[in-house]
């Protein structure tokens, strides 16, 4: 398989994730679609790492994995805090930083 296939696949997954971020209303699903976009970036990084033949892209992808884990943890913490304060779980109604 040439590298073009992998990069095109990663572009497609990234666009599906981007459309999900913009159309969904539940912040949980928005976070899931963000994961999709990060994973598409990871796939492109690993494909380029294979193309060049060194490990730099793989290390980058590993760091992206760590950042994604942190983002999930903080995002889910915010959603749990919203649920506990009886705020609506809807990104359209979340337009103030002080709830």
């Amino acid at each position: 398989m040439t590298m073009q296939w992998f990069v095109a696949l990663s572009a497609l997954i990234f666009c599906i994730g981007a459309s999900g971020v913009m159309t969904r209303r539940s912040p949980l699903v928005v976070l899931l679609c963000l994961e999709l976009m990060l994973n598409a970036g990871n796939l492109a990084l690993i494909a380029f790492s294979r193309m060049v033949g060194n490990h730099d892209g793989q290390i980058f992808a590993l760091i992206v994995l760590v950042v994604a884990a942190c983002e999930v943890v903080v995002g889910l913490g915010i959603i749990v805090a919203m649920h506990r304060r009886r705020l609506p779980i809807d990104v359209d109604k979340m337009n103030r930083l002080r709830g």
Partner: protein, 193 residues
């Protein structure tokens, strides 16, 4: 080579189907399960690209730890059916159009790229390419600063999530079971990754 192509198309189709499932399914719980399928297909693609350690880390960290956290939160918040926009007006239909435009743009960039190596199947690699040994060696020598920064970021994330999810009456005091369970999960996730 034929086996590799068959595997690529199976895994790529699974990854696209999983991604579409995440973006389209109404129930958040099914979205999480679709993401698990997507991650498993993606780890097969990582194996095809000879990133063995990352494929294993993907399955263990994502499909194992992070997705369990998602399932807990969906069960806690209540995975009510999330209707796609009730009235998809001008702004509601903007998302897919924007995504399509983005894909066209990325495809143009890919086709018009001057990277000659994109048409090859990759550079020649040695025997130990992508193994945990090589990755670990690089993390502790050439990439020591990013590695330490990432561990510090994980610590900040764990502390921040506990602060966000606790009750508003201070850290001490009677805490309900949800607070305890979220804290446990976060601590487990922090050390696991």
């Amino acid at each position: 080579m034929l086996f590799e192509q068959i595997l690529f198309f199976i895994a790529g189709g699974g990854a696209i189907a999983g991604a579409l499932g995440v973006a389209m399914l109404r129930n958040p719980f099914y979205s999480v399960l679709a993401l698990v399928a997507h991650l498993l297909s993606l780890s097969v693609l990582f194996l095809l690209l000879r990133a063995e350690f990352l494929a294993a880390a993907q399955v263990v960290v994502y499909a194992g730890a992070v997705m369990v956290l998602y399932v807990f939160v969906v069960a806690y918040v209540g995975g009510a059916d999330d209707p796609l926009r009730p009235d998809p007006g001008a702004l509601g239909s903007f998302g897919p159009i924007f995504a399509l435009a983005l894909f066209v743009e990325l495809s143009i960039a890919l086709v018009g790229s001057s990277l000659k190596a994109l048409d090859t199947t990759g550079a020649a690699t040695g025997a130990g390419f992508g193994t945990p040994g090589r990755i670990g060696e690089l993390l502790l020598t050439k990439f020591l600063l990013p590695f330490e920064t990432a561990s510090f970021l994980l610590l900040i994330g764990a502390v921040g999530a506990v602060v966000l999810a606790r009750k508003r009456r201070g850290l001490e005091g009677p805490e309900g079971p949800p607070t305890v369970s979220v804290g446990e999960v976060l601590r487990g996730g922090g050390t696991g990754s």
